[in-house]
Amino acid sequence: MAMMTSCNMDLETELEYESYEFSGIDENAGSWKPILISNGNDITIDEPTSISSAEYLSELSEVKSMISAMSSDQRKQVNLWTNNSVIRWNEVALGLIAKYNLIPGPNVDESYTLPNPANPEGPPVFPFAHPPYASRALAYLSVAQYDGMISAWHYKFMYDRPSPYMVDPEIPYAYVPNNLPSYPSEGAVLATVSRKILTAMFPLEAEYLLQLEKDHLESLLLAGENVPSDLDAGKKIGEEIASIALARASNDGMKYAQAPKAVSDSLRAAAFDRFGWQWENLESPVRPVGLTPLFGKVKMWSVPNVEDTRAPVPPTPGSEAFQKDVKILEDYADNVTHERRRIANFWQDGLGTYTPPGHWNDIAGEYFLKYKLNSIRTARAFAYMNMAIMDGGISCWDTKYYYYYPRPIQMIKGFETIAGTPNFPSYTSGHSVFSAAAAEVLTYLFPQEGSVFQKWAEEAAMSRVYGGIHWTFDATVGTTQGRDVAQYTIEVAKTDGADN
């Protein structure tokens, strides 16, 4: 028995961090340029009551009695959400992506049914949170969070109402003090905007997300950080900014991305006419349509014209360059070293996981903590990274369905892989583009760490070749493409006022 207990491991189910002192509080962040709205004051909230008013004092005493009656479960919630809940909500999104990243299997009659947002229960359930879907969910979440935070910061420093723990020394503060004004509550903005965006993206999780929002809002009171009117103002910003984001989402073209067979067949025929090759799905039973053939037509965040970022023509099958690649892939398949296998698996981010965009969010979160970013800086960093990732995905998908290039298993007889071959054309590699775009933005944000991010992006790209599911030029050209696409978002970041 001693052996059994000593063998128990603590397996982490979330990023482990506590409240911390921010590297700065960005008093001027209310004047930064948001993404969806034009200014932090586009959304209006009421002027707060003064801390000497009867209303405020009554709120204060309500909070005090709540804190004195706090249960241990409530205490856990306070510790969970911390003073930077951007990362916690990002983790919620990653968990939902992993939960819904399941490809619909065939029906008994060997047909396939697509997830349908009008009937999310299915079967199959909606959504299938594949990498393009994940990139988009994360981008809308992060962008809406960021804009909401700019709005919150604008009013925080305009009204400068102190937190309850600063007003009343009898109120304990659960977190490391950062001297941020408390009206409106940025935590409430995050709780509400995140709940609303994620509910739209994962409609079957409405109840779960509502509970998280409730827990988070309550923890803000129990932490000694906010009074209820701080929350109300934050919730209003959250609701409004989420509505604006979701209005964009409903018209960004995603609803047409999973094109019908006729459209997908015409793209295939066009590629065959142009280039003389065409990708085929080799699953059993065959899937009639590849994944989201028209994701390349979805509205981009920072790139005006997707074709400006389209990759050049890949090597013709049978050509010398192509044959050289066949040799490389055969060599990797015949000699699976431990290191190549490790890399293929580490970056696989396949079905049932949080996808490549999710992996980069996971990586990014650790660096945001390492550099003690405050919550608005964290939201900003996630926003630009996820905008670049989604733009990279759109550019990659445009390239994929323009060239319709076949996968290694289609072109090399008897070829077997150690990773799962996805249901879309090969060129360029999605993971390579997502990773390079993410690494590029992170390098802009943390230049001193750039070499690490770039190395990982290149490793992630090559992982697809080691896995046997991509050509080397899918990976290398994809990496270039991702870097290129990210520049458009970095240009936006440079001029938003945060790095002046």
Binding site: M3, M4, C7, M9, L11, E12, T13, E14, L15, E91, L94, G95, A98, K99, L102, I103, P104, G105, P106, P124, L282, E283, S284, P285, A333, V336, H338, R341, R342, N345, F346, Q348, D349, L351, G352, T353, Y354, G358, H359, D362, I409, F415, E416, T417, I418, G420, T421, G468
Partner: protein, 313 residues
């Protein structure tokens, strides 16, 4: 004393049948004479084209039919009259038949080293037969860097295992016997090559908790041909104490709750000449389960037993 050869048999069965049940212990009802050693070389072929996703039996064109071949070398040694030791090492290869929709490479290599001890706790000769009781402990652990997180092709669960079992057998003088055993297998953690996985929620670690399991077995057998041949029918069951279900149309993973019930037949023949030589053969089929393959297996093996430190054979 040729029939002591059968000591090894169910150990091989457990190791070879499926990656879901690696590391069973010696569950036979006899002991080796002190100083005797017995070697076994066994070949097992298992296959399945359906599996239980949760509790639903399904096929999957991605993997078509999965084949699993195992070559096992094992030795048993009688330390004392009442204490036997075992060591076993399997080599396994897996693959899907072609055509299949997934085009996944199979896996091959050495799996887990198994070490076991069995102790005879009780023996009583009655009027019509003999009653015996045993306890055993089995430890196994991977001895190569095979990837457990590569199902259904992975060679094993990639985790240390420690099994405790109790066993009772009654043999009538007419050659019929009944045997039952029950045990608990503690299974440790296995390390995947990724830092995130989903197990009814996010896990930000490469370590996966492999569910432990309770196991039971019931056997009816009979000796024939003046104890040169015996034939058995067996039923065994394994039930995980925790774990998640395989998700829809998704690959299994080591955290899954794996339950299975299996029926099988087993035969063993001892040659008069050359003395010490034996043959074993078995068949088994998983008849129901949860997150388990509907595996059927056949195996054949050869055993050779002799006195190591008291050359009396």
């Amino acid at each position: 004393m040729k029939n002591y050869l059968r000591t090894l048999i169910l150990l091989l069965g457990g190791l070879g049948l499926s990656n879901m049940t690696v590391g069973q212990t010696p569950t036979d009802g006899l002991m080796m004479p002190k100083g005797d050693i017995c070697f076994l070389l066994n070949f097992d072929y298992g296959q399945f084209d359906h599996y239980w996703e949760g509790e639903t039996l399904r096929k999957n064109g991605t993997i078509a039919k999965v084949q699993r071949k195992t070559a096992l070398v094992m030795a048993a040694y009688g330390i004392t009259k009442r204490l036997d030791a075992y060591v076993g090492l399997p080599y396994i290869s897996t693959n899907s038949t072609t055509p299949n929709g997934g085009k996944f490479a199979g896996a091959k290599g050495i799996q887990d080293l198994t070490l076991a001890l069995k102790y005879e706790a009780f023996r009583h000769k009655g009027e019509k037969g003999e009653l015996t009781a045993f306890g055993s402990v089995t430890f196994s652990a991977p001895v190569s860097n095979y990837l457990s997180d590569y199902q259904p092709y992975s060679l094993g669960i990639g985790a240390p295992q420690l099994a405790w079992r109790g066993l009772v057998e009654y043999e009538w003088d007419n050659g019929f016997y009944l045997r039952g055993n029950g045990g608990y297998i503690w299974k440790g953690y296995t390390q995947a090559e990724r830092e995130y996985y989903y197990n009814e929620g996010s896990y930000y670690t490469s370590w996966m908790d492999v569910p432990s399991a309770w196991t039971y077995e019931a056997v009816i057998g009979k000796w024939f041909m003046n104890k040169s041949l015996r034939v058995e029918l067996n039923y065994n069951s394994s039930k995980s104490t925790s774990g998640d279900d395989i998700r829809a149309y998704n690959a299994p993973q080591p955290t899954n709750k794996v339950d299975m019930n299996r029926v099988g037949a087993f035969a063993q023949y001892f040659f008069k000449k050359p003395k010490g030589l034996g043959l074993v053969a078995s068949y088994s089929k998983v008849i129901n389960g949860r997150n388990a393959p509907e595996m059927s297996s056949i195996s054949v093996g050869i055993t050779y037993q002799f006195g190591l430190f008291h050359p009396k054979n």
